[in-house]
Assembly symmetry: C2
DNA sequence: CAGATCGTAACAATTGAAGTTGCAATATCT
DNA sequence: AGATATTGCAACTTCAATTGTTACGATCTG
């Protein structure tokens, strides 16, 4: 399976928008992401539905960021893009009649859910503002050189 | 993406084999897993290559477990089946030229790798013997009822 | 030798994200 | 009002990886 890159892509776009006053068109964003404008609209639609960005139609229109960077976490964006599966591995049968399989399922599900909880809690700890600040720090460091 | 169920399936088979003296044929195993014998052979080939099971061709042949349940962990089986991706989500571009994207990548990769380390360490903590003991305990509990 | 069984190649089915095409709707500019 | 830029969206196709299937050869047992 191809890995779901929607979270990474949207974070990339949001950080660009955070340092840009005018709206970006879908074509411009597609250029950043090296993809198609329709893919951009489709993916951004989830962010718009949750109020993280706004779109304006017509000439001069495009996409603007619409959230507080300090109050928006990577988890918010993950949820907004609608990623369903976190893991590429899973159980064979969710409701097995075989007792052996039930034991296996509970062991594997336990390991997966521990990892999922850690991932979710980590995504919830990091704000867009922190990423933007890291970017600024990188730029300052490069200027000094 | 369909989730990779090879780990669950192979654990299921190994636990059955641990409580069974004679070899199971691929057809019998396919019956347990509700799949095809060729899928069984293909998946079990990884276990055989790593010495966790043995196969015997010809009449009366089949598959037998060939490892010490106390020394074999879920992680060993995970690796033996050759699952490549743990996560269904990932980075958009592994080597971005854009500084914004590099910041995003490091944040997402950090969260994913923390979760991956936890999953791997958890899988490495659980042995097949512990699962077999859980199964036996379940059976004892059901008998008492 | 007959039959059971694994080994393996080759290809189809499935699933979900990503990519593409086409066109309607809407906003701006002249 | 008309031309142009832009989003909105439906309806496909493509892609990648597991899973499923068919076919046939190799090997072992009786």
């Amino acid at each position: 399976m191809r890995t779901d890159s929607r979270l990474s892509r949207m974070l990339h776009v949001l950080l660009h928008m955070a340092r840009h006053d005018r709206p970006y068109t879908s074509e411009q964003i597609a250029g950043m992401l090296q993809t198609n404008a329709v893919v951009v609209r489709r993916t951004m639609a989830g962010l718009r539905a949750n109020g993280y960005v706004q779109s304006v139609t017509g000439q001069g229109g495009g996409w603007k960021i619409a959230c507080d960077l300090n109050r928006t976490t990577l988890l918010d964006i993950h949820r907004a893009v609608g990623g369903r599966h976190i893991f590429a591995i899973g159980l064979d049968n969710a409701n097995p009649s075989c007792a052996v399989e039930r034991v296996v399922n509970s062991a594997v599900a336990d390991a997966l859910s521990r990892a999922e909880r850690l991932l979710i809690s980590r995504l919830g700890e990091v704000t867009l503002a922190e990423l933007a600040e890291q970017f600024d720090a990188t730029c300052r460091a490069e200027l000094k050189q």
